[in-house]
């Protein structure tokens, strides 16, 4: 009951607090599945969300039609609109009513299986590893929500690649207001961001690897100077209230954001989970590799979307595990969550409860000290005015 109450208080507070701030603003969202596609059936999944704000409109495209799970986030003017042309069940062109102002895309294009010989948890490209690309993975729709309060799709894909036969679950989730996610690690989502959950279940490990772990490979693209670079920023926070035991927040910032303007970002806690039941005990470390320059995956939706546009494209690998944890086979499960958004990454704040305790903590001792002084002074005064009583006592 307690967390729900706290969440409610947050919501109230946040609604009050946010309405003044530009980048955490609420938006009016409309969403549709495979818009403009006549022949699409259950087998293709492209979700388009239009989030209308006070100054701009953020368009999001969540795509699985070309096998690589993709989120494209596009900022346009208030009146900007998008129409998608299809060839049967595959999008072939994204036509804008006016040129977009900014865009940022994330593609989860493959998994890495690596032999963690020194049991550090983190991925080392000098060690043996295999790449399993999602290019032939077909994604099946598990669950979908398309309302003006939430847009969500959950997909699962069977990985049948070089003997691998496991399931990858991917969930995209968007709310048109700022709040903490209901599930650990309780990341902050805003109307400008999408939360992505990836879980790797029952992936069989290669026989020749004794220390198999899995890592997620991401390709990040932004409509910025191709010669610039993404920035890795780690913040430390005093407050682990939302993610118990974790004091760090990692942000991957695009160059424009890093320079103080608005831009795209990824935000996450350096933590993954080894069980569906997420708690402190089932948490494990998440490690982020350095960025490498790369190009957009071929025959992908991002390639269709950007065509020949000059872009900043870099990739990174996020790996999971901690030394001595028994590697992937110990739990046969790894899950990770991050948010991808535009604007300034949200900053977590102390909860009402914490603020109340701090306030009480400062005022109560002060009041006590004052009352103590008052009592002493009163006694002194009483002693001075009634000397006879004391002498009688002695």
């Amino acid at each position: 009951m307690h967390p729900h109450v706290i969440t409610k208080i947050y919501r109230i507070l946040i609604v009050v607090f946010i309405s003044s701030s530009v980048h955490g603003q609420n938006r009016k969202i409309t969403s549709s599945l495979n818009p403009g596609c006549g022949e699409c059936s259950n087998s293709s999944t492209l979700v388009y969300i239009r989030a209308l704000g006070a100054q701009d409109t953020i368009h999001q495209i969540w795509d699985f039609t070309k096998h690589l799970p993709t989120v494209i986030l596009v900022v346009g003017s208030i009146n900007s609109s998008l129409s998608i042309q299809w060839d049967r069940t595959v999008p072939t062109n994204f036509a804008w009513s006016e040129l977009p102002l900014y865009s940022f895309a994330t593609v989860i294009d493959s998994l890495y299986e690596y032999d963690d010989l020194d049991d550090s948890g983190s991925f080392d490209p000098r060690r043996p590893y295999k790449e399993y690309r999602f290019t032939r993975t077909s994604w099946a729709l598990e669950d979908i929500v398309l309302t003006d309060k939430e847009v969500m799709v959950q997909m699962h894909g069977h990985i049948n690649n070089d003997g691998l036969n496991g399931v990858v679950f991917i969930k995209f989730d968007l709310f048109p207001f700022k709040d903490y996610a209901a599930e650990l690690p309780h990341l902050i989502h805003t109307a400008n961001s999408t939360q992505v959950d990836v879980s790797l279940e029952r992936l069989p490990v290669s026989r020749e690897y004794n220390a198999s772990r899995f890592a997620v490979h991401l390709v990040l693209a932004s409509s910025e100077d191709p010669a610039s670079t993404l920035h890795y920023v780690m913040r430390k926070s005093l407050d682990d209230e939302h993610t118990p035991g974790v004091f760090e927040i990692i942000e991957i910032k695009t160059p424009s954001l890093f320079d103080g303007q608005d831009g795209g970002y990824l935000q996450f806690r350096p933590i993954g989970y080894t069980a569906r039941e997420r708690n402190v005990g089932s948490s494990t470390m998440a490690h982020v590799s350095s960025f490498n320059r790369t190009s957009l995956p071929q025959r992908s939706t991002v390639a269709t979307f950007y065509k020949k546009q000059m872009l900043l494209v870099q990739d990174m690998v996020v790996s999971f595990g901690d030394s001595g944890d028994g590697f992937y086979r110990q739990h046969n499960y790894t899950a990770w969550s991050f948010t991808m958004g535009y604007g300034t990454p949200p900053v977590e704040s102390f909860s009402v409860f914490v603020v109340a305790v701090i306030t009480a903590g400062l005022t109560v001792p002060a009041l006590l000290a004052l009352s103590g002084v008052a009592v002493v002074l009163r006694r002194r005064w009483a002693r001075d005015t009634l000397p006879t009583r004391l002498t009688n006592e002695d």
């Binding site: 682990d240 035991g245 103590g372 009592v375 006694r379």
Partner: protein
Amino acid sequence: MESTTSWSHPGNRFHRFLALILMCFLCFGSYFCYDTPGALADNFKSDSHLNTSQFALLYSIYSWPNVVLCFIGGLLIDRCFGVRLGTIIYMSILFVGAVVFAFGVYIDKFWLMILGRFIFGIGGESLQVAVNNYVVLWFKGKELNMVFGLQLSFSRFGSTVNFWVMEPIYRWVANYYGGYERLGVTLFVASLTCLGSLICGLILGWMDYRAERILDRPENNANDPPFRLVDVLNFKPVFWLVSVICVAYYLAIFPFIALGKLFFERKFDFNPQDANTVNSMVYLLSAALSPFFGILIDKTGRNVTWVILSIVTTIGSHFLLAFTFVNPYVGVISLGISYSLLASGLWPLVAMIVPENQLGTAYGICQAVQNLGLATVIILAGVIVDKYGYLMLEMFFLGCLFIALIAAVLIYIIDSANSGVLNLSPSAREGLKT
């Protein structure tokens, strides 16, 4: 009393000094053996194949019965045994418990380990109550605060020493034995500290007997009506406030140290070894500083003011650890200083409030409520960390400390309103006695 110069006379300073050393070592064995499972946690898991909950049971079987037992233990000292016999009986129970536990490990029978820990627990906390009585008997009106501070923190120091030496002892024993037998033999070695403490108890008992004869000390309950259980209800309100501090203050220390290692690793990026070092600073400091704080309070009196001051600085330390990234050594060192100041100031208060023939019961109550608080809060603290994080845990500790602070201020107010002795300087206290 001080006029006697012969070192062999019980009124001599040398005798009190010897008694002080013996009293320190009385509880050393109990605290040393209490934490042997903690120091050898990995070996318990690998040699005896205990899972986490079985391992936790080794500790909870000690603490839960003590919620009641040390109250009874204190009462028995007042009504039946007297302090000398009581100490020796509890010490013997403790030693038997340690041996049974070691034997249980040696033959790899879990039920016997649990039985051993249970017997050990019966003796353990009651022994602390008995030793508190000894301290008051020998040092009241003299170096009471200093001795209390030193004795209490030296006991806690026993568990720190245990963490240092058990691992080497285990490695040495492993040269001659294997499997769970080597763990059992290691524990037999550890139980020797209890035997040592028992010998200290016997010597102290003899010294006390001799002192009583030579100094013609009045028998404890010679003139007073026998102490009955219902008299507990007539304890002064100030005593109950002291009990509140005993619970609330220590809740912000022991569970913090229990969970501290991971906190330092996670929040301050310490490696496990450094985290352990920071964590053990509190007990180390208190062992080093308590005698000096005790002397300070012996010289200045005003126990309540010192208690309030130490609670306030403890609050400051927890604030520092919770709300800043300042090197945790700063917070932990000031925590250690405050903690030893409090121990020196608080426990002697009971002796000033409660008549001597009820002291055992009074200390028993303090210890019992403290155990109740700790047993429940250790579990609760784990849940808080899992659900709400370390910041919330710190908030919880701060909350406990505010309760302790309120209780301390109330003691101050009540005591000064009734012209009590608690917050007077030593000379003023002397003046009242005559």
